[in-house]
């Protein structure tokens, strides 16, 4: 599907990008500054004469692995919490749910902004902030997934057999709960990429001279009327990366859930 193709392109850029860059992404070429696409510079140059294509390829890992990393952390932490709540039940579950409800009351970007302001700007801090902001939502999903599986026959059978709880959780509950979690994660990656770029744009994520795409857009804004390519190139790239994950996630959801016709 288109989603898969786009995803492969995007991940390929993330892994191989920096090696494919034709120029040093930081090198200045002052004589050709702020030019549109040309034979020497396929996507044009910025205000220092740096090659936009090279900067784009160089920034692919920061942008995309940010999304993957933040989501992985958030999903990991959230799933653990959600599974604990779902399997333990009782007052542990109640307390965890109350706390989650409280955290979920704060809109995600706002939450991320607050956390990133504490931690100070920077890519690592931003990634941690996004992961923390994702955790409550993922915990909720993991928990409801676990809750619906708890009452399935194979689980009840395992309980009747007298299996120890960790066996039940690991061998019966988790593999079946994984489906919705994975689907949600893929779509979250898209969202994380967008938030990461937004933080880079606001100056709270990646810092200069990083070539993270959100930061590229922010730095290029003052030149956008002189060379639109400086903002269009990273902007469109962000959209394409997010779109790849979105499409793939949707396709995944459709294939895993037979009820939803497409």
């Amino acid at each position: 599907m288109t989603g898969l193709a786009l995803l492969v392109l995007v991940l390929g850029a993330a892994i191989f990008g920096p090696f494919l860059a034709p120029y040093d992404p930081q090198a200045f070429h002052p004589t050709v500054r702020l030019q549109g696409p040309s034979a020497a510079h396929w996507l044009g140059t910025d205000q220092f004469g740096r090659d936009l294509l090279s900067r784009l390829l160089n920034g692919a890992p920061s942008t995309i692995f940010f999304g993957l990393g933040a989501t992985l952390l958030g999903v990991g932490a959230g799933s653990v919490i959600g599974v604990i709540a779902g399997t333990a039940g009782g007052w542990i579950d109640s307390i965890i749910m109350r706390i989650l409800d409280g955290l979920l009351a704060v809109p995600e970007l706002l939450f991320t902004l607050l956390i990133v302001t504490i931690l100070g700007g920077g890519m690592g801090q931003a990634m941690l902030a996004v992961a923390i902001a994702f955790t409550p939502g993922m915990a909720r999903i993991a928990r409801s997934s676990v809750l619906s599986i708890r009452t399935r026959e194979y689980v009840l059978a395992a309980v009747a057999r007298g299996e120890p709880s960790h066996y039940i959780v690991l061998r019966e509950v988790l593999p079946n709960a994984a489906g919705p979690i994975i689907v949600e994660s893929t779509i979250r990656v898209a969202f994380a990429i967008m938030i990461g770029a937004t933080l880079g744009f606001l100056g709270l994520g990646a810092q200069p001279p990083s070539t993270e795409w959100g930061l590229m857009v922010a730095e290029a804004r003052q030149f956008m009327f002189r060379n639109a390519w400086t903002v269009a190139v990273p902007g469109v790239a962000i959209a394409m990366a997010a779109m790849g994950f979105n499409l793939f996630g949707d396709a995944l959801r459709d294939s895993l859930d037979p009820r939803r016709s497409h």
Partner: protein, 316 residues
């Protein structure tokens, strides 16, 4: 749903808000620097900073500062902005109305555009129109606001076309035309992702409903297609759309921050960024409280609306 349920929900909201304010307070206390340092900037000698801290009450222990603030809020006094030296209520209040006018415009436009789009896509499933709408939805849902905003600025407000003003704000009570021309781009930016989500949601629900027995029966009865859609299919598809709108509220509240910054719209988002940069604690608290309350209340409201639309839903 019962009155008891509503009351319990409201109490839960209030409790959550209290916890949120405490958390925000704690967070801001940990940050390096404080409002006094930020106000004086590079002209702040140690004595000057200390003097300003005394005047702003920042030298008091943290629990005193918090309870002082909390006590004020309970009687409706949100204190003074540390940076702007105006009552927080005034500053945040003005910003709130500006943000609200933008958000409401965006939501209204989204509802007017997204629902018909979703319906159209569902009716014409599998055809070219459906595909086009689908592509647009995916692209729309993948563009962060700052990208959309920047591209819209470059192409519509730039020197080439100059169709719309490149940001700025005119109050609704000053000039409706002025307000309208300035609100188009920011509302469009905010609305894009929402439109994408909601139209897809409507489409998918609508498709299911259209294939259901209920509708087949209506068609067999000989009712005109239009009537079938409007009177029978649509109301049943709307419930999930309302759910999506409320989910997206959180998204809207976040997106508004970036959009206001780029389009110079004097709302809560811009104010929050300024307050965060300057460690203006009373303003940060007030805005967070306000946004969290709006979010929580909109969730509650949408739950009520869903219950009204879909009688199958029951709340304990």
């Amino acid at each position: 749903m019962t009155l008891g349920y509503l009351v319990r929900r409201l109490l839960a909201v209030i409790l959550v808000l209290v916890v949120v304010t405490f958390a925000v307070f704690a967070i801001t206390m940990i940050l390096p620097g404080n409002a006094a340092v930020m106000i004086l900037g590079e002209y702040g000698t140690d004595e000057a900073v200390a003097a300003l801290e005394r005047r702003l009450g920042l030298d008091r222990p943290w629990y005193i500062q918090y309870f002082d603030w909390f006590g004020g809020v309970v009687v409706g006094d949100f204190g003074q902005s540390l940076r702007l030296s105006q009552p927080v209520a005034d500053v945040v209040g003005d910003a709130f109305w500006n943000s609200a006018s933008l958000a409401v415009t965006a939501l209204m436009s989204v509802t007017i555009i997204a629902i018909p789009l979703g319906v159209l896509a569902a009716i014409k499933r599998g055809t070219g129109s459906d595909l086009i709408i689908g592509i647009f939805s995916y692209i729309g849902a993948s563009m962060p606001e700052f990208v959309t905003a920047t591209l819209l600025l470059v192409f519509l407000a730039g020197p080439a076309l100059g169709l719309l003003p490149a940001g700025g704000f005119i109050a609704l009570n000053e000039s409706i035309g002025g307000f309208a021309s300035h609100v188009v781009l920011p509302a469009a930016t905010l609305g894009l992702i929402l439109t994408a989500h909601i139209s897809r949601q409507v489409r998918s629900e609508m498709s299911e409903v259209l294939a259901s027995d209920y509708i087949r029966a209506a068609r067999l009865k000989g009712l005109r297609e239009r009537r079938v859609i409007r009177r029978h299919a649509l109301p049943n598809s709307l419930a999930p759309a309302v759910a999506v709108i409320s989910l997206d509220m959180g998204y809207l509240l976040g997106g508004i921050i970036v959009v206001e910054e780029i389009f110079a719209w004097p709302g809560l988002g811009r104010l929050l960024i300024l307050a965060l940069e300057n460690r203006d604690l009373p303003v940060i608290q007030a805005i967070t409280l306000l946004l969290a309350a709006v979010y929580a209340l909109s969730n509650l409201l949408s739950d009520i609306v869903i219950a009204m639309l879909d009688p199958r839903v029951r709340y304990a």
